[in-house]
Amino acid sequence: MGQIMGGYHARSVDLNSDDNPTFDPQAGFQYERKQREMIAKEEDLISARIPNKYRDYCAHYLLDYQVCRYKEMPLLYRCAHEKHNYLNCEQQDYVLRMKEFERERRLRVRENRISATA
């Protein structure tokens, strides 16, 4: 229910789920934002036959996890450490997307406020 109630603030500035950010990434930051880097190599991903939708910024953790599974099968409980690393990385990625969403929403609200008073 909180999603329904909280969604109004985003819909009122015409921002929907899975939109792309429209403002300059550096706008409003005192420091310079660090770029995300892709650690897993393309040839490793191809050789491990990872599906396309899993080739994101957490793919190096996924590769380690798959290697561990292959080595420890069928005693998969031994891969809990690698699995935890991968899931944490995915969660941080999702939190980053949420932060981007909120930043985009606040910048739009600010732009509306500025253009209303101008």
Binding site: Q3, D18, R55, D56, R97
Partner: protein, 188 residues
């Protein structure tokens, strides 16, 4: 061997085997299968030259003769339109067997039909266990269409009006490494 099975099968179904049929069965190996399909079918498959209706009646005398042939009076006899190909077969009212009076003493109560009463041209679908388009509907057609279109249209309208009020997860698009530059929220 198979023809003997067919013969005994046909006898079990009470079908008469004429000598002509026997010659047809045992002479040609292909026709055994075809003839068996004809005669060992569950429905009746015979034809009689009297089943053929006469040509479309054009003069009043022909109409009177056709009405007499089918046992109807001249006033109530109307043939089908000529281009439909029914000849002089009468166009009877579309009353299904289910709507007919169940307490009347018919000659043939299983079919709710009297002797020499003309059968409807499409009597095979008006049988007591089949369609009956003349019954009083529990809900009128207008009622049915209203509810059907109303439900579908209501849902469609709901979708159209709520298109701008969708709920979603509060996240931007998934950041894929090859497409575009992405940043963290910290300097390191």
């Amino acid at each position: 061997m198979s023809s003997k099975c067919i013969v005994y099968g046909c006898m079990f179904l009470n079908v008469k085997m004429s000598s002509l049929l026997k010659r047809a069965l045992f002479n040609n190996s292909q026709s055994i299968r075809k003839t068996a399909a004809l005669f060992c079918n569950a429905t009746r498959n015979h034809w009689n030259y009297q089943y053929q209706p006469g040509p479309y009646p054009k003069t009043p005398e022909e109409r009177a003769a056709a009405a007499k042939k089918y046992g109807m009076t001249v006033e109530e006899y109307t043939p089908y339109p000529e281009d439909m190909g029914y000849g002089d077969y009468p166009k009877l009212p579309d009353i299904g067997e289910d709507s007919k009076d169940p307490h009347y003493p018919y000659d043939n109560p299983e079919l709710k039909r009297n002797f020499n009463e003309p059968l409807h041209a499409t009597a095979e679908i008006f049988g007591g266990d089949r369609c009956d388009i003349s019954i009083r509907r529990r809900f009128s057609l207008l009622h049915q269409w209203t509810w059907f279109l109303g439900t579908l249209g209501g849902f469609a309208l709901l979708m159209v009006f709520l298109e701008d009020y969708k709920i979603g997860r509060p996240v931007t698009a998934k950041q894929i490494p090859g497409q575009g530059v992405h940043y963290l929220f910290s300097p390191n």
